[in-house]
Symmetry: C2
Subunit: 345 residues, 2 copies
């Protein structure tokens, strides 16, 4: 088992004083004569005594860890490019700050609330990241009830009495508008949207942005299919759209995996991308750059989002003032999968 | 801040006894009269007293959390399909067991060792997963020195005195042999391997498997390029191979992202896959099924690997006997990206 670290008892034995006195001296409490205190600190240093985070966390009620509860079907987690990048960004801040990340993956909203309660009751975390905000999100009230510092990714829809939760937001919907403007500018008239789940705020924001941009271009946003973000959903939606009577000439997807799957379906059907069908993604994943044709997409920056959210949460826990943070908006990056609309036959 | 949970002091005050007696009663230690114990338990229950995991972990030196230290460039983490799936598998076991996962992402081996030391010194974890085993892996000696229960993914090369670390292994190299056999059987003679890092055991095992299968088929395994698993590395290696004088007719990649990037490079160069070039991946990712042509690949099962490793580690921490676990071997799945070798011109 682990080699024993010097304890307060060891320091006491070496100093020839009581453990209580050592504890008082090390914790800088009153009632210890200055010379005694000096001598105890010198012996503690000599023995290599260090405060245990676990013991310290018990006394100051801090766990030096932040929590991330991810509520998604494991099947989606494994193909969702957002979380690994977001976590890489979070770790960039936590590691130097001596903080750990406690991760919990649950499959539904009931388990999610229970998970937050348990993490707090067990004193495991000092704060939490709230991702994938939903309409009427129960987590906002819960973290307030639990007194748990928290930061949201994106702004909640309404925050009745929830003014103490800072948001780290990225204007991702603007990227969808850019994509639609780009396609409309290339002459596309039948543009479809393969959307994320409407119960998630970012899913419905992106859909609203699609509607707004379409209407502004004088087009009807009537080709919209809601999905659960899975690549297989993207493939299915694409097959459905391509089989329909008013086949779109362009499809705006709510994430890269679905767009790549859509590209595969189109090519399998013998269509040329972008000659017959233009395709845009959302995420700016690595692999999107390397498929053929390279994916036009909307580049968010989940690594940066993770770092920014971690910094806000650490400041909040330290008791420093925090405010909402606006990251640079997601931006549309044109690559090779989007081009001029095919001439009408 | 958090609403106060009833403490031992509250129970003591209500029962009119000392805190020490309450603690003895709640911890079921001898020296408490049965009636007194009953009364204290009843009051504790009435007040809703619950043992704090943090306090409990301090007294029994357990943290009820397992650690995963990932040592990779953040850039690779974000595109590596292994970890999200592995973590989903781990969480499947931890969540019902009331355990948390503490995650740490570091960028080099020096930080890695420091991270293990700190997680143990801070009493944050009861056990650790050792992934991406390397030659002369310093972590094996370290976890023994620290007395930290650990499980390795795959079998270490040699385990001098390291008999107490169980391994959860999957014969992944066998999948590479199957892929080479498949390609050689289709008439391919110039088969290249875009390999993972040789310093990682699984990287060199897969390369050895490639050599073995090639030699068995009477072919020279001389077209091998080592990479760092990144999609961009896969693209670069493919461009290099296709530009060379003895252009391969088939390429066996060490992961799916590199194979998908290689597919993109080949198609960009105007090659037909699999008519001119056959391509196989490794992972069995979701997206590999949806690209065009669908990727022939070697299906490992990281979710299952995660669950199995978590179960072994939990048993080990509970003091139950453990032994090495052999998962079903990774298997080659033929899809559409591999086919007969082109006729020699």
């Amino acid at each position: 088992m682990a080699r024993a670290r010097p304890t307060i008892a060891d320091v006491a034995a070496h100093a020839g004083v009581s453990k209580g006195l050592v504890s008082f001296a090390l914790n800088n409490r009153p009632g210890v004569a200055p010379q005694t205190r000096e001598r105890i600190l010198a012996i503690a240093e000599e023995l290599g005594w260090q405060p245990s985070v676990r013991a310290r966390s018990l006394s100051v009620a801090r766990s030096f860890a932040l929590g991330l509860v991810i509520t998604r079907d494991p099947e989606i987690i494994t193909s969702d490019p957002f979380y690994p990048s977001f976590i890489a960004g979070v770790e960039r801040e936590l590691s130097p700050a001596g903080q750990a990340l406690v991760l919990s993956v649950v499959s539904n909203e009931r388990e999610e609330l229970a998970s937050y309660r348990k993490l707090v009751a067990d004193g495991r975390i000092d704060g939490a990241f709230i991702t994938d905000l939903r309409h009427d999100d129960l987590r906002l009230g819960l973290v307030q009830e639990l007194g748990l510092p928290a930061v949201t990714l994106g702004r909640p829809e309404s925050r009745p009495g929830v003014s103490s939760i800072p948001a780290v937001a990225m204007e991702d919907a603007a990227g969808i508008e850019e994509a639609v403007d780009h396609l409309a500018g290339l002459g596309h008239r039948r543009i479809a949207h393969v959307a994320g789940p409407a119960r998630m705020l970012h899913g419905s924001h992106r859909r609203q942005a699609f509607d707004t941009a379409m209407r502004r271009a004088g087009l009807e946003p009537d080709l919209v299919i809601e999905t659960d973000f899975k690549a297989a959903d993207g493939a299915r939606a694409t097959r459905h759209l391509l089989a329909g009577p008013d086949r779109p000439t362009a499809i705006v997807y709510a994430n890269d995996p679905m767009a790549i799957a859509g590209l595969g379906v189109a090519q399998h059907a013998g269509l040329n991308v972008p000659g017959d069908l233009s395709i845009t993604g959302f995420d700016g994943t690595d692999i999107g750059e390397h498929v053929y044709p390279a994916l036009s997409t909307i580049v968010a920056d989940p690594v940066r989002w993770g770092s920014a959210a971690a910094r806000v949460l650490l400041r909040m826990i330290a008791g420093d003032p925090t405010e909402d943070v606006d990251l640079p908006p997601a931006r549309f990056v044109r690559r090779k999968s989007s081009g001029p609309a095919p001439r009408t036959p």
